[in-house]
């Protein structure tokens, strides 16, 4: 079908569509498409901001990852952190949402209070957390001492620092995930609970496993994927709280990529790190879509 064959009005509308989508398209090209292509190309070079010129080095940057101790450490730290963070960031909000959802009294005040950390500026609040977690004079250790317990070196002990960071991150995400769960719970029709209770599911746990959990599955999938991605994206807390320390014990993946790119100016290596990160994100997104599709065909 040639353009001339279109009615005049239709052609005008089509031209308008190009006009309307042009600014966004141009910006997507400049902000997403070209940079991704550039990251890809640079990752096969030895480009560094501090030297002029560059050579193509093939897969060297990717091979370097396999032997780079810091990479292995950052990778491990990220996984350990995720393993601590994700269960807390999933189950605490789920329990809270279920507990809050059914009560009419205090519901909004509780929602507001638990949600406060989500809106707050994490860099500022991390400063507060650094004071609270201080090994010598922090409020948390003071409380432990007054309970007759030993002080904990929250930020200075390499074995504990990831737990401390996970704690701060969980504090920051509880309200966010709770709101998602609350929305999911509200969408469950009340008569399903009545039907379940006729079938003899009277105990709260029965109600949970027979009605709430299966019907909450789409929300749970979204929350878990979102939480997983948030775990991988950990950066701010590390940058303010520990600088990756002590002795790289809290150096996570994105913080390493940042250091390599913008502190050491190993741009090419940092690009390779970024691409691997993106590959993981795409994998997660793909799995999420597949799981979502399977659920829909089952339903």
């Amino acid at each position: 079908m040639s353009a001339a064959a279109l009615p005049k009005q239709e052609w005008g509308r089509r031209r308008l569509a190009y006009l309307l989508s042009a600014p966004a398209s141009l910006l997507i090209l400049l902000i997403y498409v070209l940079p991704i292509v550039a990251v890809f190309v640079i990752s096969f070079t030895d480009y560094s901001l501090v030297y002029d010129g560059f050579n193509f080095v093939g897969l060297d940057n990717y091979k370097q990852m396999l032997t780079d101790e810091h990479f292995a450490e950052a990778f491990r730290n990220t996984l350990i952190y995720a393993a601590i963070f994700i269960p807390g960031a999933f189950f605490l909000p789920l329990v809270l949402a279920i507990a809050i959802q059914r009560r009419r009294r205090f519901r909004s005040i509780l929602e507001v209070l638990y949600f406060m950390p989500v809106t707050s500026t994490l860099t500022a609040m991390t400063l507060v957390w650094r004071a609270l977690l201080d090994g010598n004079q922090g409020a948390i250790n003071n409380m432990l001492v007054s309970l007759g317990l030993d002080k904990v070196n929250w930020l200075g002990d390499g074995d504990i620092v990831l737990i401390s960071i996970a704690m701060v991150s969980i504090w920051g995400i509880i309200g966010f995930n709770m709101v998602l769960f609350l929305a999911g719970l509200t969408a469950i029709p009340q008569n399903l609970y009545e039907a379940a209770s006729i079938d003899g599911a009277d105990h709260p746990l029965d109600r949970f496993f027979q009605v709430t959990w299966p019907l909450l599955a789409p929300t749970s999938l979204f929350v878990s994927v979102n939480t997983l991605v948030t775990a991988f994206k950990l950066f701010d807390t590390v940058a303010v709280l520990t600088h990756g320390g002590p002795d790289r014990a809290s150096e996570v993946y994105l913080y390493l990529a940042y250091l390599e790119g913008f502190e050491n100016f190993n741009m090419a290596y940092a690009c390779a790190l970024s691409l691997v990160f993106l590959a993981v994100l795409f994998l997660v997104a793909w799995l999420q879509t597949r799981m979502g599709d399977r659920r829909r065909t089952h339903a």
């Binding site: 089509r14 308008l16 569509a17 190009y18 309307l20 989508s21 966004a24 910006l27 997507i28 902000i31 997403y32 070209l34 940079p35 991704i36 550039a38 990251v39 640079i42 901001l49 507990a99 009294r105 205090f106 638990y114 949600f115 989500v118 809106t119 707050s120 500026t121 994490l122 860099t123 500022a124 609040m125 400063l127 507060v128 004071a131 004079q137 922090g138 003071n142 509880i174 309200g175 966010f176 709101v179 998602l180 999938l221 979204f222 994927v225 994206k233 950066f235 940058a239 303010v240 994105l254 990529a257 741009m267 940092a270 690009c271 970024s274 691409l275 990160f277 994100l281 997104a285 979502g292």
Partner: protein
């Protein structure tokens, strides 16, 4: 009016009071636990506020009491706002957030309308790019964008702080969903009545999309007010420092007046908390809308 109208408010007042009587012990314990948890969650805010009112030597006192023995709140806040450049930092954050939001809306609304309601070649490809870009965080594209800004000599400018966020693929995706649900019959009728496409967008579609636009705006402003990563990369001077980034200065003994430090943390956190308290519904909608992606 009869006597009942005088008695009624009283009765409802009593019923209101009675409603606070716990239904059972389990209910009371549950409520207690929920409030205990809530107390733990907001304790850092209370501690911050308290520290901001204290002289430096009281901040780390081993027994915490909210109200300081020596009140230094006036000195601390005065110092933050007038001796230190915090007004500049706050203004920078405000300019950056406002600039980003305006450009995001101006680029996303028309593109979303075209994707939802108009036919054009390349539509599927454009939408494909939008969806793929949803997954790409700034952390992955930061190096080429940084190098580009170095090349054109625009580091440490408002432009460099805003540029990577001028297009929000999330906004395009969200608004497209919203516009798609708008009935075609109304648009066709408007066309028959002689409305131009621009008039249709401005007078029909946009008013209908206001809930989505408002919720997205809250989402965008909060995200960029709180962002640390990108300002950390492009800001080089105090003049362009954002509020969130300024908190990083305390890494290196920038200020050992701890009371004043936490006064600055309060000043930086306050705007978003205030917006939240006034626009709670919007905040919550902006989060549940992000669930549409899934």
């Amino acid at each position: 009016m009869s006597v009942t109208s005088i008695e009624q408010p009283q009765a409802s007042w009593l019923r209101f009071l009675a409603s606070f009587k716990p239904k059972s012990i389990a209910d009371a314990v549950g409520t207690g636990l929920l409030f205990l948890g809530a107390w733990l969650v907001i304790f850092p805010f209370i501690w911050m506020l308290s520290a901001s009112l204290k002289p430096a030597d009281e901040v780390y006192d081993s027994n915490f009491h909210f109200w300081p023995e020596t009140f230094r709140g006036d000195v601390n806040y005065y110092g933050v706002l007038f001796d230190q450049p915090y007004l500049t930092f706050l203004a920078n954050s405000f300019i950056v957030c406002a600039g980003i939001l305006v450009v995001q809306l101006v680029t996303a609304v028309p593109a979303a309308y075209a994707l939802a309601k108009l036919k054009f070649r390349g539509k599927t490809i454009l939408f494909g790019f939008v969806v793929a870009s949803l997954t790409i965080p700034i952390n992955v594209t930061s190096i080429p964008i940084y190098l580009g800004l170095v090349k054109v000599g625009l580091l440490d400018t408002y432009f460099s702080l805003m540029f990577p966020f001028f297009v929000s693929v999330f906004a395009i995706f969200l608004f497209r969903q919203f516009f798609k649900d708008y009935p075609d019959s109304i648009i066709d009728a408007a066309r028959v009545d002689g409305f131009s496409e621009i008039e249709i967008i401005l007078r029909l579609i946009l008013p209908a999309a206001i809930p989505a636009v408002a919720a997205f705006s809250v989402f965008s402003v909060v995200a960029h007010w709180n962002d640390l990563y990108w300002p950390l990369i492009v800001v080089q001077s105090q003049e362009k420092m954002t509020a969130a980034l300024s908190m990083l200065q305390y890494q290196s003994e920038f200020d050992n007046d701890y009371g004043r430090t936490f006064a600055s943390a309060t000043v930086v956190t306050l705007p978003m908390v205030v917006i939240f308290l006034f626009a709670r519904r919007l905040f919550i909608r902006s989060i549940t809308m992000s669930g549409i992606k899934g």
